[in-house]
């Protein structure tokens, strides 16, 4: 077992997507960040397709995104930590997460990954997590939700 000290955690970026995994992400990030007195940044990216300008009004989407951040803030408060909410609009979620982690100089990026299978039974990871794995400048921690119970 390696006894090397844990790396310093000054800032943790939590990428939230509005899925049930957000609760796990906040919980694990709080358990790591609280003892280290790390700053926690909750990031939610609203993906805007190319049919709309990036600076255009997408009120319905923005309200939903705000709700995601509000829930995360309430969960964090319950766990005794403070979250700084960041809401972004972007063309590509993965690229926006990586850019924000870089500009925040994050030491750790935490993402949630729902347990999903496509028709035929293969596990689906989507495109955001692989993109972040490939491009994020900091340590990346992916919290995959537990496998659903058989027959549940």
């Amino acid at each position: 077992m390696n006894d090397s000290p844990r790396p310093a955690l000054r800032r943790i970026v939590l990428a939230l997507n509005g899925a049930p995994t957000d609760r796990l992400v906040v919980s694990y990030a709080a358990s790591l960040g609280k003892p280290a007195k790390a700053e926690l940044v909750a990031l939610h990216v609203v993906e805007i397709d190319w049919t709309l300008p990036l600076d255009g009004s997408v009120s319905g989407l923005t309200e939903e995104a705000q709700r995601v951040l509000d829930i995360a803030e309430a969960d964090a408060e319950h766990l005794g930590v403070r979250l700084e909410p960041v809401l972004l609009k972007a063309r590509n979620v993965g690229a926006a997460i990586v850019d924000e982690a870089a500009s925040q100089e994050a030491d750790l990026l935490v993402l949630g990954l729902p347990y999903r299978k496509k028709f035929g039974g293969d596990f689906v990871m989507g495109s955001t997590v692989p993109y972040v794995f490939k491009n994020a400048p900091c340590t990346v921690w992916v919290v995959r939700e537990p496998m659903p119970q058989e027959g549940a």
Binding site: D49, W50, T51, P53, A95
Partner: protein
Amino acid sequence: MFVIVVGGGKVGYYLTRELIGAGHEVVLLEKTRARAVQISDEIGSVVLSRDGTEGSALAEAGANRADIVAAVTGDDEDNLVICQMAKHHFSVKRTIARVNNPKNELLFRHLGVDEIISPTRMILGAIEQDIPVHELLHLADLGSGDLELIEALLTDESPAIGRTSGELPMPEGCTLFAYIRDGKALQVRPETQFRGGDKVIVIGRRECEDALRGTLIGDEEETAAI
């Protein structure tokens, strides 16, 4: 300005890069997934791995609000389809097409493509300026109409030699614009008398080229006989 570039070859890649550098909003459509990923890695998430000849791909790229669609694939047929769809289905204000085969230029023009870029024609023009392979040289199209800028190289045998510009029977729709003598561009006046070696610049209609050749250079058979 929002620009959709279709085709991620060398032209599309550098065009996208330059437009982004100039502060424009750009999306690039490239149908080959591996190439799309490669470009995306290099210039960011502005690439959609879709076939731009499909209406659904142009719709996804935001053709409904595009200011310009530039079709720069290596395939003339694809470029024509892309511009046609952009123009007539999405009402894009300006369409630009790369035309590889100069013979397709007229077709593109007739079918309403706003701007036609023919690298082959440009290179040919550059070569002909140094080594005139035809006595009449197409210099440039003027706007989207039929008018073009033509250069005629006069030889000592040209019927225009020794006559003033006012005496020349210019074909309908052609105007003498300027002439180049000893490397110097000069304005054509009614009393201007042409000499062998002069390059005469004419604004004229495409269909007048044969008549213009007869006036300034002489018919090929006559010239050959001399």
